[in-house]
């Protein structure tokens, strides 16, 4: 029983961080129809940001804030500038561009930071007993932080001016423009928030994973699964499914080998895709 509780908690931790990446991915897809293959690489940049701020003695939490701001704003505007000329072109071009960016970022990170895995100590070392297991408090804090960020995202999309406009642009860009909504600014915001979420996830998860150039790859794959299964562009669906996926994978790994769990997850995604292909709409939904 104790093992199950610990595995479920581990699943929640993984799911919470995955939810941040997936929510960002869903947002970008909902607003712009862009599936960003490089999303995981901005997760990686977030992780490196916190690694370097800690190494420089500036503290862990400053690293998290820096990851959100620097990677979110600079990365968001860079990605927007890169993809803007392709916005009315074939979808495949955008996919290839983000795939290319992903490969370039991973290679640059390898050249600049080295291929070795770096570790970041958690900012809170305390542990709480769960049965005979001493469970790290920081891991639980990650779940709480992700829940707060995602709740904030929901409130933003529901009640705040630019959040409402993000949904409006996603649902009917032409009409939003006709009303006077500053569509280009809304697009920029979608890029910034999307990559900011990935970077925050990377920075929060840095103490739990090692930090290395391809750390975002696995996260990205799972995030794609979540976004597709949750309904493309569905912010809340992506967040909830990320938590479910995290828990299912951790619990599943207790009874079947890890790769078999992945196989089952992929099979479920294929089924969901077949079902959704009948009635798929691309919107930022709550």
């Amino acid at each position: 029983m104790e093992h199950i509780v610990v595995a479920a908690l581990n699943g929640l931790v993984v799911g919470a961080s995955l939810a941040l990446v997936a929510a960002g991915l869903a947002l970008l897809f909902g607003v712009l129809g862009i599936l960003n293959f490089a999303q995981g690489d901005f997760f990686m940049l977030g992780a490196y940001t916190v690694y370097f701020t800690v190494a420089a003695g500036l503290g862990f939490w400053l690293g998290v804030v820096a990851a959100a701001l620097v990677v979110g704003v600079a990365g968001g505007l860079f990605l927007m500038a890169m993809l803007w000329p392709l916005r009315d072109r074939a979808t495949a071009l955008v996919l290839l561009a983000t795939l290319g960016l992903s490969l370039i970022m991973e290679q640059l990170a390898t050249n600049r930071f080295g291929a070795d895995a770096k570790t970041v100590a958690p900012p809170i070392a305390a542990r709480i007993p769960i049965g005979g297991t001493q469970y790290p408090v920081y891991d639980l804090l990650v779940v709480v932080a992700a829940a707060l960020i995602l709740t904030g995202g929901y409130v933003f999309l529901k009640y705040v001016k630019y959040g409402v406009w993000l949904r409006a642009v996603a649902q009917n860009q032409r009409m939003a423009s006709l009303l006077g909504v500053p569509v280009t600014r809304v697009y920029a915001l979608a890029f910034i928030v999307s990559l900011g979420l990935a970077a925050v996830a990377g920075s929060l998860l840095a103490p739990l994973f090692s930090v290395y150039p391809t750390v975002g790859l696995d996260v990205n794959l799972d995030a794609f699964i979540v976004v597709i299964a949750g309904g493309l562009g569905n912010f809340r669906g992506a967040a909830v499914l990320a938590l479910v996926l995290g828990v299912v994978k951790q619990l599943g790994a207790m009874v079947v080998p890890g790769q078999a769990v992945d196989l089952v997850v992929f099979a479920l995604v294929i089924v969901l895709l077949i079902v959704r292909s009948q009635r798929q709409s691309v919107l930022v939904r709550l």
Partner: protein
């Protein structure tokens, strides 16, 4: 208020609008009628800066009208297109708020109240998703939102198309009220009842050109109006 002088519009090599000139004054209702495909909607889109490549002068309140649609909208120009004019996964209230948020916070409540006053059914369905409204209610929602933003001129494309007579009356009354409040209205429609209620003048279009300008008083019956724009003559 709005003046088009020798405006041409092109979709690729297709010369859709071939040098039209028209004007709409403050507090004036003006109709634009003609067969399907003569360029009425393209004219409205050209004014709004969406879609076709244009040439010629479009002046709004004594200044050239330039830039993307949202910049033109912010100058006080409204456009209610025909079809797909709501945010389907947002409630009626959110649909109106999406527009109201462009105005100062103090005006948000007034925008909602104006919309609900124009079409009370929207108030009754304020928590319903826009995409689940009937076609007529969606037209009311998009028009109510457009008028609630208090544009100085509003262009409306086919507001009565496919609606029951009772809904046409409601929409015509809302546009008439806007005219009486000093808003310029340019409406593309084929409903005699709506044109008679809203407009004092109308232009007839044929094959991308304006072929006639009439006072609505010239037409006592719908048949006479239809005869005129079917001929497309002045």
């Amino acid at each position: 208020m709005l003046e088009l002088s020798d405006v041409h519009a092109y979709y690729g090599r297709s010369h859709v609008i071939q040098g039209i000139s028209l004007r709409v004054g403050r507090g004036e209702g003006v109709g634009l009628v003609g067969h399907n495909g003569v360029g009425k909607t393209t004219t409205l889109k050209s004014v709004m800066g969406m879609g076709p490549r244009t040439r010629g002068h479009i002046v709004f309140e004594d200044r050239d009208l330039r830039g993307p649609a949202h910049a033109r909208a912010r100058r006080g120009l409204g456009f209610v297109p025909d079809g797909e004019a709501v945010f389907p996964e947002m409630t009626v209230e959110e649909n109106i708020r999406a527009g109201a948020l462009l105005k100062p916070r103090a005006d948000h409540r007034r925008c909602l109240d104006t919309a609900y006053e124009l079409f009370p059914v929207l108030g009754e369905r304020r928590n319903q998703l826009g995409g689940t409204l009937s076609g007529g209610q969606q037209k009311m929602l998009s028009l109510a939102r457009g008028l609630a933003l208090e544009p100085r001129l509003i262009m409306v494309d086919e507001p009565s198309e496919g609606l029951m007579p009772i809904n046409v009356e409601l929409i015509a009354a809302a546009l008439r009220r806007a005219v009486e409040q000093g808003v310029g209205v340019l409406v593309v429609d084929a409903s005699f009842q709506l044109l008679k209620t809203v407009c004092s003048r109308m232009y007839v279009m044929k094959q991308g050109r304006i072929t006639g300008e009439h006072e609505l008083d010239e037409f006592a019956t719908a048949d006479r109006l239809v005869e005129t724009y079917l001929k497309g003559e002045g």
